[in-house]
């Protein structure tokens, strides 16, 4: 780390609840009655409820580093960016920034619906801190990037949401700061747009600029960032150049509980007097799109002679059933009368099948003789399939499609001219 671009020391931001959140502004009446109350109980406990949105945040970022900031909603990521971009003032500590800062907490801030595309480029550029000559110099690039040449003199309120976003991002993308602070602005728009944005981000990151990048897109963080800072409850809980390790840890935190569930007591386990579930789990617990894995279900048969078949459904986040598989071709026990006891059924899922995302498992136990359902359990498991960065080229956005097969391609010349 040769030269420091951003340095923070004990940075903290205190919010007063009830005033800054739900009821942000107050009326004169409230202030007057508060003042009256204060006079009455001078020494009374008048402490309003406060919350540290971030607390004791210290780090140093060298020039040219591209740092991802990850964490769940409310972890303080945006507050940190707001302080560093001077939108809001810290309550404690200090930060030092060396270089021209461009911050992008939202695309299209200040766009006016009644103004034309051309006018908004100038307005928005000025709002983001560009000089007029800079905007003029880059105007053609911006318009080409946004692909709105034909609609430059149309009011943006008549734009489709895609055009609007493209134009808004195009202006922001042509900012030329030494330090770029970016919030989750790439989460909007369709896949094509996201692809474009992330490509541009990659370009910016590759130019040796210092970038602080807040994102929930772990694939993008993995692909773009050389270092990652994880925040939890306003504190930094990890800060490392081993991006993969921090990201995996973050993704699996709280996830294992759902990737393996156990009910040790047969009397209270989910089920009925014929069948009860003892355990369900994913093996291994953390998987990527390329890893084969298995789904194991252990269950007690409580009534001897029960003929059991298992039917397993895997649904993606959108609720689409990705596959359904049954024990129908399982050779040993399917449809045969089971004695009382504990059984384990395992379903092996190959790698390169599921796309990245989170999935739920739904299990149905049914009577071998088509007499119907013995027991069913929705959301038995919840698991996450992580994306991989390999073989993706410049593209870090969501891979389209419900499944993600690794297909073979061949190309051959059929006829050659000349």
């Amino acid at each position: 780390m040769s030269e420091i671009a951003i340095r923070t020391e004990g940075l903290g931001k205190l919010y007063t609840l009830g005033r800054s959140r739900a009821n942000k502004y107050r009326t004169l009446g409230e202030t007057l009655s508060e003042a009256a109350g204060w006079l009455r109980r001078r020494n009374g406990s008048h402490a309003r409820e406060t919350i540290w949105a971030i607390q004791d945040v210290s780090f140093e970022i060298g020039r040219g580093e591209v740092v991802g900031v990850i964490g769940r909603n409310g972890a303080g990521k945006t507050t940190l960016l707001k302080i560093l971009s001077r939108i809001t003032e810290p309550s404690a500590g200090e930060a030092e920034i060396r270089g021209r800062v461009g911050s992008l907490l939202e695309v299209g801030t200040g766009f006016h619906p009644d103004l034309t595309g051309r006018e908004n480029v100038y307005l928005n550029g000025a709002i983001l801190g560009m000089k007029r000559v800079e905007i003029e110099r880059r105007f053609d690039q911006i318009v080409a990037f946004a692909e709105v040449e034909k609609f430059l003199d149309t009011a943006v309120k008549h734009y489709s949401s895609g055009m609007y976003l493209r134009l808004a991002f195009a202006v922001a993308a042509h900012l030329d700061p030494e330090i770029l602070l970016v919030d989750e602005v790439l989460a909007v728009g369709d896949a094509v747009f996201q692809k474009k944005c992330l490509g541009k981000m990659g370009e910016v990151a590759g130019e040796g600029r210092t970038v602080l990048f807040v994102s929930h897109n772990m694939t993008a963080v993995r692909g773009l960032c050389g270092r990652v800072i994880r925040m939890e409850g306003g504190h930094i809980t990890a800060d490392s150049t081993d991006v993969d390790a921090v990201v995996s840890e973050y993704l699996t935190a709280g996830m294992e509980a759902c990737a393996c569930r156990e009910w040790p007591d047969v009397e209270t386990a989910p089920g009925n007097d014929r069948i009860r579930i003892r355990r369900a789990r994913l093996e291994p617990a953390t998987i990527t799109v390329s890893t084969p894995f298995q789904i194991e279900v252990e269950y007690w048969i409580r009534k001897p002679g029960t003929r059991v078949g298992l039917s397993l459904f895997v649904h993606n986040q959108e609720g689409v059933c990705i596959f359904n598989s049954t024990t129908a071709r399982e050779p040993c026990w399917h449809g045969k009368p089971h004695p009382e006891g504990l059984f384990r059924s395992v379903c092996r899922v190959p790698g390169n099948l599921l796309n990245a995302g989170s999935y739920t498992v739904f299990v149905k136990f049914y009577q071998g003789g088509a007499k119907g359902v013995l027991y069913q359990h929705t959301d038995l498991l919840l698991f996450e399939v992580q994306d991989i960065v390999e073989d993706r080229g410049e593209w870090f956005g969501r891979w389209p499609g419900a499944v993600r097969p690794d297909l073979r391609w061949t190309t051959a010349a059929v006829t050659e001219w000349n």
Binding site: E3, R26, I87
Partner: protein, 277 residues
């Protein structure tokens, strides 16, 4: 690598009275320009009459005043035809009232900018107030027309109009800074501002003349800085009676105090804007 010239920002909690940082406002003058330009451009979009509204408002007000105060109440007008007498005052007054209204609502209206982008916040109310100058230019052409119709002979005093407009701008900005900063925390301002403007108008010699006041009261009246502006306008354009020199001087002092206190209060509250707006 331009690291040697890289600016260094220190971000830390500010306490007590803070610097105005006017130089930074100057650095953002292009943003100021674009915001004024946007306000002007957008103001009369999707209106049938467009910029004609800038004419109609003072004209209609002048007609109503002429009817009620001039004809019915027979308010003395220093020997000037009442329509001309009231319109000469209405032009700066309307400019002031619009600029004040726009700037006091400007921060709450720009909430999204405040929450998402950094720039010196002073730019917002200043841009809002400056936008009124365009309407002033439009209504001034009507005033010029009326001066012609009534065959008023202009003198070198006309040159005083420009500084008087600047004075009106300072007053509207001073009050606008106070109200806009207050409005971030107290939305009551939205309802108070129109009232205040109305009362202020009747406390200002718009429909009547201050010439019947004897000294020193006329000079004291200058503590309402808009009184100095309005009487100054009449004196400069219509050549009424005694020069309101001392009165205008008092007004200038009052306006500067208003602007300075407004600016400091604004800067003091500025750090809370993004969290409260």
């Amino acid at each position: 690598m331009s690291s040697a010239a890289a600016p260094v920002f220190r971000i830390r909690p500010e306490r007590g009275w803070v610097a105005l940082r006017l130089r930074e406002v100057w650095e953002y003058r292009e943003l100021l320009y674009f915001l004024v330009w946007r306000d002007v451009k957008v103001r009369y979009k999707q209106t049938v009459l467009g910029a004609a509204w800038a004419l109609l408002q003072p004209l209609a007000t002048m007609l109503v005043f002429t009817l009620f105060f001039g004809r019915l109440a027979r308010v003395p007008s220093d020997g000037i035809p009442y329509p001309l007498f009231s319109f000469t005052a209405l032009v700066p007054w309307m400019f002031f009232a619009n600029a004040l209204g726009q700037s006091s609502n400007s921060l709450v209206g720009s909430a999204n900018l405040l929450r998402k982008v950094y720039f010196p916040r002073l730019v917002i109310p200043v841009a809002a107030a400056l936008g009124g100058l365009v309407d002033l230019a439009v209504s001034s052409t009507v005033l010029a027309g009326m001066l012609l119709v009534y065959r008023v002979e202009l003198t070198a005093r006309v040159a005083w109009v420009a500084p008087l407009v600047a004075l009106a701008l300072v007053v509207s900005l001073g009050a606008g800074l106070w109200l806009s900063a207050l409005s971030v925390q107290y939305r009551d301002v939205r309802y108070v501002a129109p009232f205040l403007t109305q009362f202020w108008m009747f406390a200002t010699p718009v429909v009547y003349s201050s010439s019947r006041l004897g000294e020193p009261w006329r000079t004291v009246y200058g503590l309402n800085p808009m009184a100095g502006v309005v009487e100054g306008f009449r004196w400069a354009l219509l050549g009424t009676g005694v020069a309101p020199g001392p009165m205008v001087a008092v007004s200038v002092a009052a306006a500067l105090v208003l602007l300075a206190t407004g600016a400091y209060y604004f800067r003091r509250m500025e750090k809370t804007f993004a969290d409260l707006v």
